[in-house]
Symmetry: C2
Subunit: 190 residues, 2 copies
Amino acid sequence: MTIKEIVLKNRSYRRFHQDVRIDFNILKELVELTRLSASGGNIQPLKYILSFESEKNERIFRNLAWAAYLKNWPGPVEGERPAAYIIVMGDKKLKDSFGYDPGIAVQSMLLGAVEKGLGGCIIGSISKDSLRKDLNIANQYEILLVLALGKPKEIVIIEPLGPNGEIRYWRDDDGVHHVPKRSLEELIVG
Amino acid sequence: MTIKEIVLKNRSYRRFHQDVRIDFNILKELVELTRLSASGGNIQPLKYILSFESEKNERIFRNLAWAAYLKNWPGPVEGERPAAYIIVMGDKKLKDSFGYDPGIAVQSMLLGAVEKGLGGCIIGSISKDSLRKDLNIANQYEILLVLALGKPKEIVIIEPLGPNGEIRYWRDDDGVHHVPKRSLEELIVG
């Protein structure tokens, strides 16, 4: 696949074939992609917790909030939940703030996941104190993002902005997820 | 190429074949990759200025600082400078802060550039007030990053950390650029 094909296939998926397991080596291969990616000042302050077993997955899942714009949808039901997670953390012993590194890292990992027939969602809405407690995460690490991963079980369609420039994604009666995207012309200034 | 091959080839290049031009359509294709990438809350607040002509390139170049760790190297000489730039900005009319979007965006663009035989460097050390004045950038836009692009004219090698965990990149007598990277084991917690 070309990068464009992979980027196109890399939608934010929130429902998965939960029974399709993702093993530790796959997750390590994704972290390897971030290891080889750019880092501000080459400090490489990001650290990762990998989860692919159901009990640990559940401890992560319960600390996540899903799809802010889908008011009547509390998140994926049992059977459609992520098969794995990568928790992205900043090591405060190495740096105070983590700048653009987390965005670079998750994009590398997601594109790598898509190439493997997987997909995921970058989740920033996390009960961080509770997750820290549930996973016994040392204070040295600032919890930044959670990458939820699995074999996607939903169709996601990109479409132009709605009336009045509406950017909120929505789900139709068939369960298809629609994501309005600004036009290329709107993104380029001058 | 696989994602891993592209990520491996995607080093931070700072010297280029300046005479190998990059045209407007190539830059637009790179921005298209960010248009199709994830954005926090799907707000899509990033905007881009594209530059591929020598006079505009020069106005950008003079506002950038290069390679903090190479103390005796002020940046690429004429003939080895970037052939194009993409200035990544946040539209403050859409959002106050831009979170992980810029990192996601530049990684999409860089991987796309590598696939086209190009390469680049994410530059965060920018004389922003001066760049704003030189390019007449409206206050609505917060200047976040500059992506410098061109056909790479240097060899960049990844190697393990130096003694005492040294992470500073360095250039050897042959002009080869060495970048120490932490091990995978160091990145995975638990």
